[in-house]
C-alpha cells in the first residue's frame, strides 16, 4: 500500500519546485508563477491520491514512512496520516495554489522570492501535519516561521515590519517552551520505554508523573494556544493578518492557525490526557470568551481586512470549544470546521484582496455599491460570506452544528453562550456585505473598479464548489475522520481514567502495546501499518460510557 512514498513526495515536491523556480530568470514573472503553480498542483494531485486511497475504516496511521534520521538521539523520520491529519493536508494542498493564484497579477515585485517562499512554506505546513516524531514536527513547525516572516515583511502593508516581527516573536515565544517540554518527554521516555525516543506513537505509552504532566501540558498548550489563537493570546493576529499580502492572509487564516488546533488533537490530547481532561473546562471557557469577544470586536471594525481577521478569533474559538468538549461529534465538528474556516475565511481574504487591488483601501467607508460595479463578484462574495456565517446548505453549517450539538451534550453551559457568537457572526458579516456591496456607489474611482478577471474567478470557483459540496454532502470528509477521532477520544478517556502514578522504574504497562519492542524496533513497515493506535481503539471504545 505504501510502496510509493506519497507523503515524502508531497513534502519534497514543493522544495524541488522551489529549486527550479530559483533557476528561472527573475524577469520572467509569468514563468515563475507558472512553475510555482505547476508544483503546487502536483502536490494537490498527490494529496488527492492520498485522499482517495485513504482507508476510512481504519483509525491507524496510513501511508506511513519511517527511516532513522538522527538515531543516536532517538529522532526518526516518521510521517503518516490518519483521519485527523488528512483533512488538513487536503486543506493545505487546496489553499496553497489559491494563495499563489491570488498573488499572480497582484504582486509584481520580487516574484521569484515570493514563489520560492510560498513553496517552502507549503512543504513546512504539510510536514507539520504529517510528522509523527516530535522533533520532526517541531522542525516543520518552526520552519514555517521564516517564510511567513518574509511573506508578511516583504510584501505586506504599510506596518508590515512590525507586524511580521510581532508574529514571529509571539509564536516563537510559545514554541520555545514547547521545545523544552518535548525534550523533557524524551528524557522521561528512557526509563519507561527502554529507549529514549521522540516518536509520538511510542510516547503515547508513557505514564507521566502527575506532578510533571501539568507543566508539560501547559508548555504545549501555550505554544498551540498562541498559534490558534485562543483569547487572550490573540493580539498578534489582527496585525499579522491585516498587514500580510492577500496570499499571506489566506495562508495564515486558512492553514497556519490550524497548526494550533491540530496540535491540540495530535499531541496534547493523547500525550497529556489527564491534564487535558482536567483543564478542558478552563480552555472551553477561554474559547467561549474568544467566540464572543472576537465577534464583538469584529462588529466594531471599520477596516474590512481587520474585520475578517478578528472574525477568525471568534471562529477559532468555536473550534477550540469543540476540541475540548471531548465528545466525538464535537471533535469531528471541530475538525470539519478547521477545513471550513480555511475555505470560508480564506475566501473572505481573497475577496478583500480583490477589492483592495482595485481601490487600495481597506476602509469600509470607502466602499459601497460594489455589487453594481462588479456583478460577477457579488454572488461569489455572497456565497463565501454565507458560508462563513454558517448558513444551512453551506459547509460552515455542518461544522458549527456538530460542534454546538456535541458540546451541548456534554457541557451545555459553554454551548449556549457560544451560540451568541454564531449570531454575532451573522450580524457583522452581513453588515459588511451590505456596506460594501449594496447602497449607493461610494467608491472613489468607480471607473477603476472593473469586474473579476478570469484569473480572479478561478480563485473563487474551487471554494464555491467545496463550500456546497461539504455543505450538502460532508460524508466523504466525516467518514474519513470518524474512526481516528473515536480512537483518539477512547485513548484520552482511558488514559485520563487510568491511575497515573507508576514508579519510574516499572516495566511498561501491559495494556499498552507501544512497548519498545513493538515500536522502536520496527523498521520500515513492509505491509499495511499495524499501528499501535489500532489496537487501542477496541478496548478504548468500551471504556467510554
Amino acid at each position: 500500500m505504501t510502496s510509493v512514498p506519497w507523503l515524502s513526495a508531497a513534502l519534497v515536491l514543493p522544495l524541488a519546485t522551489a529549486a527550479v523556480a530559483a533557476a528561472v530568470d527573475r524577469r520572467r514573472t509569468g514563468a515563475l508563477y507558472g512553475v510555482g503553480m505547476a508544483g503546487m498542483l502536483a502536490v494537490a494531485a498527490v494529496a488527492g491520491v492520498v485522499f482517495v486511497r485513504f482507508d476510512a475504516r481504519s483509525a491507524a496511521l496510513q501511508f506511513v514512512e519511517r527511516a532513522p534520521w538522527i538515531p543516536s538521539v532517538g529522532i526518526g523520520y516518521h510521517v503518516g496520516v490518519d483521519g485527523i491529519s488528512l483533512p488538513l493536508v487536503m486543506l493545505t494542498a487546496v489553499m496553497m495554489p489559491l494563495a499563489l493564484l491570488s498573488a499572480w497579477g497582484s504582486i509584481t515585485e520580487r516574484v521569484k522570492e515570493l514563489v520560492v517562499v510560498l513553496l517552502v512554506l507549503e512543504s513546512a505546513l504539510l510536514g507539520t501535519f504529517v510528522a509523527q516524531d516530535l522533533v520532526l514536527f517541531y522542525v516543520f513547525w518552526e520552519a514555517v516561521l521564516i517564510p511567513m516572516y518574509f511573506l508578511i515583511g516583504l510584501w505586506g502593508g504599510p506596518a508590515r515590519v512590525l507586524a511580521a516581527m510581532k508574529f514571529l516573536l509571539y509564536t516563537m515565544a510559545g514554541s520555545a517552551l514547547m521545545l523544552v517540554a518535548i525534550i523533557v518527554l524524551y528524557l522521561q521516555s528512557g526509563a519507561q520505554l527502554g529507549a529514549r525516543t521522540f516518536d509520538l506513537v511510542a510516547l503515547q505509552g508513557l505514564r507521566l508523573d502527575p506532578a510533571l504532566e501539568p507543566w508539560l501540558f501547559a508548555a504545549f498548550a501555550l505554544a498551540l494556544a498562541i498559534k490558534v489563537p485562543v483569547w487572550p493570546l490573540h493580539t498578534w493576529l489582527p496585525d499579522a493578518h491585516t498587514e500580510a499580502p492577500t496570499a499571506g492572509s489566506v495562508i495564515l487564516a486558512a492553514v497556519l492557525l490550524k497548526m494550533g488546533t491540530y496540535g491540540f488533537l495530535r499531541f496534547v490530547l493523547p500525550l497529556f490526557s489527564a491534564s487535558a481532561v482536567r483543564y478542558a473546562p478552563a480552555l472551553m471557557a477561554l474559547a467561549v470568551v474568544g467566540v464572543l469577544y472576537g465577534g464583538a470586536v469584529s462588529w466594531a471594525q471599520r477596516d474590512v481586512k481587520r474585520l475578517v481577521a478578528m472574525s477568525s478569533v471568534s471562529h477559532l474559538g468555536l473550534i477550540t470549544l469543540g476540541l475540548f468538549a471531548l465528545s466525538p461529534e464535537a471533535v469531528q465538528g471541530s475538525l470539519l470546521q478547521m477545513v471550513n474556516h480555511g475555505l470560508s475565511t480564506g475566501g473572505l481574504f481573497l475577496l478583500v484582496g480583490v477589492l483592495y487591488d482595485r481601490t487600495h483601501s481597506r476602509r469600509m467607508d470607502d466602499y459601497g455599491g460594489v455589487a453594481s460595479l462588479m456583478p460577477r463578484l457579488a454572488p461569489l462574495a455572497l456565497i463565501v460570506v454565507l458560508s462563513s456565517l454558517a448558513l444551512p446548505g453551506t459547509n460552515g453549517f455542518v461544522g458549527e452544528f456538530l460542534v454546538l450539538v456535541g458540546t451541548y451534550r456534554v457541557a451545555p453551559r459553554y454551548a449556549v453562550p457560544a451560540l451568541g457568537g454564531v449570531i454575532l457572526s451573522a450580524a457583522y458579516l452581513l453588515w459588511m456585505y451590505q456596506k460594501v456591496m449594496h447602497g449607493p456607489v461610494a467608491v472613489r474611482e468607480p471607473a477603476a473598479v472593473r469586474d473579476l478577471s478570469r484569473r480572479e474567478q478561478a480563485l473563487f470557483w474551487p471554494l464555491v464548489i467545496l463550500i456546497f459540496w461539504i455543505g450538502l454532502y460532508p460524508a466523504p470528509l466525516l467518514r474519513r475522520s470518524e474512526a481516528s477521532v473515536r480512537a483518539l477520544l477512547a485513548l484520552v478517556h482511558e488514559r485520563a481514567a487510568a491511575p497515573a502514578a507508576v514508579p519510574a522504574q516499572a516495566p511498561p504497562a501491559p495494556s499498552f502495546p507501544t512497548a519498545p519492542s513493538a515500536v522502536v524496533d520496527r523498521g520500515l513497515p513492509a505491509g499495511p501499518p499495524a499501528d499501535a493506535r489500532e489496537f487501542r481503539a477496541a478496548p478504548g471504545g468500551e471504556v467510554r460510557p
Binding site: E113, A143, I146, A176, I183, V184, L187
Partner: protein, 474 residues
C-alpha cells in the same frame, strides 16, 4: 606511553606551526608582494593539519610527561579549530589584499593562534593549558591591531591586550594556587584533591581567565569594542577561534577533570550561563553596527555553550563540540556576507549598509537568511541542532531553569538576527556600497552555508563523529 616525548602525537600542531614559519619566511623572502601565495600556503597548512588530525589515532596517548593528551576530544576540538581556520583564511584573502594588511604577518599569526587553540584542546596539565592560552591570545592581540593606519584597530589591539593580559594573570595565579593546593599542575591532580579554600580559589581564578577568553558575562566587556575595532577578517577569526579554544579548556577543566565534582561548580557556571545569555541577547537588540551585533551574539552563544558544559556529561561534551562546529560555520558565514560588501571609505560594517543587497545578489541574501536563522536557532539549520543538543544535555542534568532562560533568550535573539536578514531583502542598496569582486570569498561563504544547512538536515554523521568524545569519560 613509554616515551615521554612522543612527537608523533603532536603532528597536527607541528604541521600548523611549521606552516606559520614557512609563511613568515616566504614573506620575508619576497613573497610579501604576492599575498595570494601566502594565503594558499596557509590554506594548505590548515588542510594538512586537518589531515594530520585524522591520521594520528586519538587513542588517548600522552606526551610531555602526561601534560599533553591526544584523545577523541582533542581530535574533535582540533578539527573544529582547523575548519574555522581554513574558512577564515580563505575569507580573509580579498580583504587583506584590498586593505594592504601585511599578508605574511596576518596568515602566520592566524596559524599560530590556531596552534594555541589546538594545544588548549590537548591539555592535560594546567601549565600546557596556560601555554596554549598565551599562544592563542598573543597573536590575536597583534592581529586586532594589525591595521596600523587605523586608530580604531590600534585602540582595539591595546584594549584587548591590556584586559587580556590581566585575565591571563588571573589564570596564572589560579595555576599557582592549584599547585599550592595539590602539589601538582596536572589536571588529574585537581580531580582527586580534597576540597579546600585554596582549591576553590584556584578554580575560581582559572574560570575567570577562561571566561574572559570565551566572553562570558561578567568578563565580556572587552568584546564589543575589540570586535568593532579589529579589521573585519580578524574579528571573524577571533570570534570563532578564541571561542573554540576557551571552550576546549572549559571542557578539559570542568567536564573531563572536575566533572564528577559538578556540585561544587555547577551553580556558579549556571549563573554565568544565564547572565551571559540574557545580557548578550538583550544588549544585541539595539546595535546598529554589524560587528558589534555579532560581538554580542558571540557573547550570547558563549552562554548557550555553557549550558552544555554544565551538563558535565558525555552527551553534553559532544553537544558542545557540535555546537562549536555549527557556531564556527554560521558565525564565519555571517562575517563572510559582510566581507562580501565594501564601501569606498572602509568597511561596510553598519547594518544599514546591507540594505537591498539581495536584489543585487539573491544568493547572498539567501545565505544571510540561512546564517541568521541558524544563529537564532531555527530549524532546519545547524544552529537549531546545536541548541537542541546542548539543551537536551542540560535538561538531562536537571538544569531546567537555565534551559528555560536559554530558549526564551533565543526568542529575543530572533529580533535582532532576523532584522539583519530582513535588511538585505528590503529597501534599496546604499550608494557607495559595492560587492567585492573575488572568487574565493563566495566559495568559502557557500561552504559555510552548505555546512550550516547540512548540520541541521543531516546531523547524524557529524553527531556520531563527535559522539566519540564519550570515550574520554570511560
Amino acid at each position: 606511553m613509554t616515551a615521554a616525548l612522543d612527537v608523533r602525537l603532536l603532528l597536527p600542531e607541528l604541521v600548523v606551526l611549521g606552516t606559520a614559519l614557512v609563511v613568515l619566511l616566504a614573506s620575508v623572502g619576497g613573497a610579501a608582494s604576492r599575498p595570494a601565495v601566502l594565503r594558499w600556503l596557509a590554506v594548505a597548512g590548515a588542510a594538512a593539519g586537518l589531515g594530520a588530525v585524522a591520521a594520528v589515532p586519538p587513542a588517548g596517548g600522552a606526551a610531555f610527561w602526561g601534560s599533553y593528551v591526544r584523545d577523541p576530544l582533542t581530535a574533535a576540538l582540533q578539527a573544529v579549530v582547523l575548519v574555522g581556520t581554513l574558512l577564515a583564511v580563505i575569507l580573509s584573502g580579498e580583504y587583506v589584499r584590498r586593505t594592504r594588511l601585511d599578508a605574511g604577518e596576518f596568515y602566520a599569526l592566524v596559524l599560530v593562534a590556531a596552534a594555541g587553540a589546538m594545544l588548549m584542546a590537548a591539555s592535560a596539565d594546567l601549565l600546557l593549558l596556560f601555554v596554549g592560552l598565551e599562544t592563542l591570545s598573543v597573536p590575536l592581540y597583534v592581529l586586532a591591531a594589525l591595521a596600523r593606519a587605523d586608530a580604531r584597530s590600534q585602540e582595539a589591539g591595546l584594549k584587548y591586550f591590556l584586559l587580556g593580559a590581566f585575565a591571563t594573570a588571573f589564570f596564572l595565579y589560579g595555576v599557582a594556587l592549584a599547585f599550592g593546593a595539590t602539589g601538582s599542575t596536572a589536571l588529574a591532580a585537581l580531580s582527586g584533591a580534597a576540597p579546600s579554600a585554596t582549591l576553590r580559589a584556584a578554580v575560581a581564578l582559572l574560570t575567570t581567565g577562561l571566561a574572559f577568553k570565551a566572553a562570558v558575562v561578567p568578563f565580556h566587556v572587552w568584546a564589543p569594542d575589540v570586535y568593532e575595532g579589529a579589521p573585519l577578517p580578524v574579528t571573524a577569526y577571533m570570534a570563532v577561534v578564541a571561542k573554540a579554544g576557551a571552550f576546549a579548556a572549559f571542557l578539559r577543566v570542568f567536564v573531563a577533570t572536575l566533572g564528577p565534582r559538578v556540585g561544587e561548580w555547577g551553580a556558579v557556571l549556571a549563573a554565568a550561563s544565564v547572565l551571559t545569555m540574557v545580557v548578550g541577547n538583550v544588549a544585541a537588540l539595539h546595535q546598529t553596527g554589524i560587528k558589534r551585533l555579532l560581538a554580542y551574539s558571540s557573547i550570547a552563544h558563549a552562554g548557550f555553550l555553557l549550558t552544555g558544559v554544565l551538563a558535565a556529561s558525555p552527551a553534553g561534551t559532544a553537544a558542545v563540540v557540535f555546537y562549536l562546529l555549527a557556531y564556527t560555520l554560521m558565525t564565519l558565514g555571517a562575517f563572510a556576507v559582510v566581507l562580501m560588501v565594501r564601501r569606498a571609505d572602509g568597511e561596510a560594517d553598519r547594518i544599514a549598509d546591507l540594505a537591498g543587497l539581495a536584489s543585487r545578489s539573491p544568493a547572498l541574501g539567501a545565505a544571510m537568511a540561512v546564517f541568521m536563522a541558524a544563529l537564532t536557532g531555527l530549524p532546519p539549520t545547524g544552529g537549531f541542532a546545536a541548541k537542541f543538543l546542548v539543551f537536551t544535555a542540560a535538561l538531562d542534568a536537571g538544569y531546567t531553569g537555565v534551559v528555560v532562560v536559554g530558549v526564551l533568550s533565543s526568542v529575543v535573539s530572533a529580533y535582532y538576527y532576523l532584522r539583519v536578514a530582513y535588511t538585505l531583502f528590503s529597501g534599496a542598496p546604499v550608494p557607495g556600497v559595492a560587492l567585492v569582486e573575488d572568487r574565493w570569498v563566495p566559495a568559502a561563504l557557500a561552504l559555510a552555508a552548505a555546512g550550516t544547512v547540512l548540520l541541521g538536515v543531516f546531523p547524524a554523521p557529524v553527531l556520531s563523529a563527535v559522539g566519540q568524545v564519550a570515550a574520554v569519560f570511560r
